[in-house]
């Protein structure tokens, strides 16, 4: 193995891992807090990208890119809150909440996907990169936008992790997920935190979409593939642990990049899945999940 190969694999792996980590952490946050899987997470990612596209491109307002991004992210917060209110909140007390919300978030996914197509059409779109040009990273050339993702993702995720770990609200978020009634009894505003996490997670999804929207092409189903990956990562990393999720995202990113390199793109997905099954056979509680019981 030459240094070139190692560097190429590492760089690709980092790009993939960063994207996966951003996506998965939003999903993981909602899982941790509300105990549900948000299948609309991928569509939220697409929606964020389309918002930004409208802001920067179509609106023709010649907005500064950053402002467009900020407005798009704010829009996502609103959408997140709306979703929580309409399709999650009514089912809090249902003991089948997991299954019911699988359904309702699937419905939201369909709604958003088709709604996006209705609003913006089906043709491919692309965002202007936040930073133009190319960068050479340890011997491998990538677009500056991808480099930005590599740099930005750990910062964002680190901030999120520190927020959950050390801020009072952040700890509250973790507590709520494990036992809402007990959380109430120590003075946590459960309802507020539910909304907060959903808004945060939607914003993360939107931001991922915006970052990725200038590397890949935006379509109404643009979030589907990252969603599936994120779902796998959240489970694989050990449910309910953000650090596990993030670590799993980077590991899977690098492993995927390596697989692409060594067995080719064609068999890489299958190999990855086979690998996942194998690891789960050995560690039934996920990669970083602690033993249950």
């Amino acid at each position: 193995m030459t240094m070139d190969m190692i560097s190429a694999i590492l760089v690709s792996g980092l790009v993939l891992g960063s994207v996966y980590a951003l996506m998965a952490s939003g999903l993981s946050l909602v899982w941790t807090t509300l105990g549900i899987f948000n299948f609309a997470h991928g569509s939220l990612m697409a929606l964020g990208a389309y918002f930004a596209w409208t802001m920067t491109d179509a609106a023709g307002l010649n907005l500064w890119l950053g402002a467009g991004v900020a407005i798009a992210v704010a829009g996502m917060v609103g959408v997140g809150i709306l979703i929580e209110r309409t399709v999650i909140r009514p089912f809090y007390d249902d003991k089948d909440i997991l299954l019911i919300t699988v359904m309702t978030t699937l419905a939201v996914m369909i709604f958003l996907e088709k709604g996006i197509q209705f609003m913006w059409g089906a043709r491919l779109k692309q965002l202007e990169p936040l930073v133009p040009g190319q960068v050479n990273l340890i011997g491998t050339t990538i677009s500056a936008q991808e480099a930005l993702i590599i740099v930005l993702a750990p910062l964002l995720l680190g901030a999120l992790w520190a927020f959950l770990r050390y801020s009072n609200t952040g700890r509250g978020i973790r507590a709520v997920g494990q036992n809402p009634a007990a959380a109430k009894l120590i003075g946590v505003d459960v309802s507020k935190l539910f909304i907060l996490t959903f808004a945060l997670s939607a914003a993360l999804a939107g931001l991922t979409g915006i970052l990725l929207g200038s590397v890949r092409f935006i379509t109404p189903t643009f979030g589907a593939e990252p969603l599936v990956k994120a779902l796998i990562i959240v489970i694989f990393g050990g449910l309910g642990s953000l650090s596990g999720t993030i670590a799993a995202a980077y590991i899977i990113g690098v492993v995927e990049a390596a697989l692409i390199f060594f067995v080719g793109i064609y068999w890489a997905p299958s190999m990855l899945f086979a690998l996942l099954i194998a690891v789960l056979m050995l560690r039934p509680q996920g990669l970083f999940g602690k033993t249950v019981r």
Binding site: S12, L124, T219, Y266
Partner: protein, 387 residues
């Protein structure tokens, strides 16, 4: 004048291929409006009814077909493509439904050629795709001979995604290149679908340094990504991409990065002074919908006119066999060239005098036709990244 003949259009209106689907319906509507405005045909006015094939799954295609077929006024159906396998051709044949199809010519031929008489009403305006495999080597040789192109070696790298269209073309090209004495440095297969990372393939290409790179994956998004990543560290090679550069958004997406890319087209719009029909159709489409069409807008536009001609001849839309036969007898200059059908395969006839294969090069956001020479609008130029 109250009689209505409905035209069933099978098209993916939702899902990943919705952009194509919208174009199909737009093209058909454009023609229908014109015909109706001109007073209709044989006492009939036309109306488009759409059957959404969604993701082209067998059951949704069949549902769309049945829904349209259940309408007594639908006595013809047309599409760009309805399914990956064209299995619906058999459904059409069972009901003797006139069916004009555009893409997937290979599948159409596989179904029809064994017994063409069983499919009297089904016709493909796309010619056989064989030319995609055979035309490439001679065209390149011609460029080399004419001095328009200089290549450092006789090596070619091929890549395709795993779908019958791309794969067949790649395999055919491989054979033809090898027979002509070229070295094929790689012939890789990628999974079908969105591909975000071509770098592994491109890394291999840089090692082997072939003078031609051919990518037969036809998805425009993938092609655009491919170009972007190729240009990160370009090699001294001619880049050919199958089909995708013909799709309108490819140019929007790649902008100047596409300059120099070569592609070819069978059954696409033959936009050249010798075929004014093409400019006319494209112009009307752009005027109405505000965007340039790809292949399927003009295709469906022409399909409606084929049907209109047949109906004018037969007079009765319910006489489906007669309509089908009339369509098969067509001989007409359409946007793609001169249309005639091959009775053995029910495909359009291919050739310079019929539907020609066209080679284009993209230059400054425009598609320049450089082959066949008699239709050419511009000379081939050495791509900017080549020395």
């Amino acid at each position: 004048q109250d009689k209505v003949a409905k035209i069933g259009v099978l098209a993916p209106m939702t899902g990943g291929a919705a952009a194509d689907g919208n174009e199909m319906v737009n093209g058909a509507r454009l023609a229908v409006e014109e015909i109706n405005a001109a007073g209709g045909i044989a006492g009939y006015t036309f109306e488009v009814v759409v059957g959404d094939t969604q993701d082209q799954a067998a059951d949704t295609v069949t549902s769309a077909f049945e829904r349209l077929a259940g309408d007594r006024d639908v006595n013809v159906m047309m599409t760009g493509y309805a399914s990956g396998s064209n299995f619906e051709i058999e459904l059409m044949a069972e009901q003797e439904m006139p069916y004009i199809i555009s893409a997937n010519a290979a599948q159409t031929r596989d179904i029809i050629a064994p017994s063409p008489d069983d499919f009297p009403t089904v016709w493909s305006i796309s010619p056989s795709y064989d030319a995609y495999e055979t035309a490439m080597v001679p065209v390149i040789q011609q460029l080399l001979d004419g001095g328009a192109l200089e290549l450092p070696n006789k090596k070619v790298a091929l890549i395709s995604s795993d779908n019958p269209y791309s794969k067949t073309i790649m395999e055919g090209l491989q054979k033809n290149f090898e027979e002509a004495g070229w070295e094929v440095t790689s012939a890789d297969l990628l999974p079908f679908g969105e591909i975000n990372d071509w770098r592994a393939f491109l890394a291999g290409v840089r090692q082997a340094a072939p003078s031609i790179i051919i990518n037969t994956d036809y998805l425009p998004g993938n092609a655009a990504t491919f170009m972007t990543q190729f240009l990160e560290q370009p090699t001294d090679s001619l880049v050919f991409i199958q089909y995708a550069p013909s799709v309108p958004e490819f140019l929007d997406l790649t902008k100047d990065r596409a300059t120099g890319v070569v592609y070819n087209m069978l059954g696409g719009v033959l936009d050249t002074p010798q075929n004014p029909r093409a400019a006319e159709v494209v112009g009307k489409y752009e005027a109405k919908y505000g965007a340039a069409p790809g292949v399927y807008g003009p295709a469906l536009y022409e399909q409606v006119y084929l049907y209109a001609d047949a109906l004018a001849k037969v007079g009765d839309p319910t006489d489906r066999l007669a309509i089908g036969q009339a369509i098969g007898e067509t001989e007409k200059q359409i946007a793609a060239g001169m249309l005639r059908f091959d009775p053995e395969t029910h495909l359009a006839v291919q050739g310079e005098d019929a539907i020609p294969i066209q080679f284009f090069q993209i230059w400054d956001g425009k598609r320049e036709l450089f082959y066949p020479a008699r239709y050419a609008t511009e000379e081939f130029q050495t791509p900017p990244w080549m020395k």
